[in-house]
Symmetry: C2
Subunit: 229 residues, 2 copies
DNA sequence: CGTAGTATTGACTAGGCTCAAGGGTGGTGG
DNA sequence: CCACCACCCTTGAGCCTAGTCAATACTACG
């Protein structure tokens, strides 16, 4: 259970800042950042923002996990990314001027800070390092999504599951992967039933261990091989 | 046939600049841009850059069309985007510092200008409007790719073809869509044979007309409906 | 201890891929 | 200018992955 009273995290001493966009901030920057942010507690399955809404600022993950997803015609989710501690979410929409193209909601209870659009854009204007970090991040994600598209169109569900387990193992490290079967299926891009059958198959082959809802990667090398490329 | 001697396009009078990243450039900027760029003629099916190589600069489309793609394990291409006149290609890799994650090559003979990484990054540092334009563009593409991923994982090939024809009709406007069957299949994300069978079906239903390799959209509304969402 | 959500299993179907063979067409060189 | 070759396009047959529908087990929480 997270500390719900943790409403006043201090950016200067925040232990997850080192892998965030704000890692390069000097003391003055940190004071400004700290004063402009607000920190909130979120329960499991609570939305941060919803596709179609207008963005009002960015979110900075202090603790917890958040899924970023779109909904297809039928309403089925496709999870594009799972954000963990240190990640800044929703800055794409700050620049485009458009409504959110994606939705975000918590996968577990989380402590998440919020910075208004105004404050965030001001920081970018005055801080070249932050700006470069953001451009690098946008570029990196763009490259990742191209690979994602190719995986979706050319890999089998089996290959994509192997690939996904590797990514998720890394995101959840040092803990076990902890997602509902439905969320995992929506990340892989398949039906829940198909996912379950494949998980069993992976287990029988000694690639993973299933601890109820939690999944443990046993043989990373075989998974890499199975995922291809 | 394009004018192969068109080696010295002038940015100040370039007729495609109005829909490019450089639309906001003042006279001084344009002089600088014009002097730092070089313009080359490319034959059909000539590469601009290849996945894995290190980027040396960006390309600005003067005339022609270019496909941007990745290759899956088997070597099959997945076309992510088709760039037309006015578009600037390859700037993502300028910021990430990584090798290209994608390849680009011409779909028809083209005149394309080149700006070195140094010059391009200098321009960005000194020109806030250009910078904002680029951040907006990166953001826009990021949103588009999220939709692309969802389409790939949730739509049928039939739906994706309808969707693709709408996008391509727009890119090729006012001309007819002019791609090889294989390239079209690689854009839709399917096998060439499946694509051909579906094209015939679309033709029988009066959605498109087939003029040998060229395709004409006849009933845009029905295609929209068929594409879903 | 009931109830709602979550997970699992089975049976069936079909969309779409692969392999294989045949028909067109445009570009080039003689 | 024409013939040939290479490449592109098209069609057919068969199979298999993975989606859907339906029924049943499990689990956590009030």
């Amino acid at each position: 259970m997270l500390d719900k009273s943790h409403k006043n995290a201090n950016c200067a001493t925040c232990e997850v800042r080192s892998n965030s966009l704000f890692s390069s901030f000097c003391d003055d920057d940190l004071v400004e950042l700290n004063e402009s942010k607000t920190c909130s507690y979120y329960k499991k399955n609570q939305p941060l923002f919803i596709e179609g809404n207008l963005p009002r600022g960015v979110f900075c993950m202090h603790q917890g996990k958040v899924k970023i997803f779109t909904r297809g015609d039928s309403g089925k989710e496709q999870i594009i990314h799972i954000a963990k501690e240190g990640e800044v979410i929703g800055f794409r929409a700050m620049f485009s001027g458009d409504p959110y193209k994606l939705s975000a909601s918590t996968l577990e209870e989380s402590n998440i800070c919020f910075i208004t659009k105004e404050n965030f854009l001001d920081m970018i204007d005055s801080n070249a390092t932050l700006r470069k970090g953001i451009m690098k991040e946008l570029s990196k994600e763009l490259g990742e999504r191209a690979v994602f598209i190719t995986n979706m169109s050319q890999k089998s569900v089996r290959e994509r599951l192997a690939y996904s387990l590797l990514i998720l193992g890394d995101i959840y490290k040092p803990d076990l992967i902890n997602l509902s079967r439905e969320d995992l299926a929506n990340f892989v891009g398949t039906a829940t039933e198909t996912l379950i059958r494949l998980l069993k198959d992976f287990k029988d082959k000694g690639l993973i261990e299933i601890h109820a809802r939690k999944l443990e990667v046993l043989d990373q090398n075989k998974l890499i091989h199975l995922a291809g490329k």
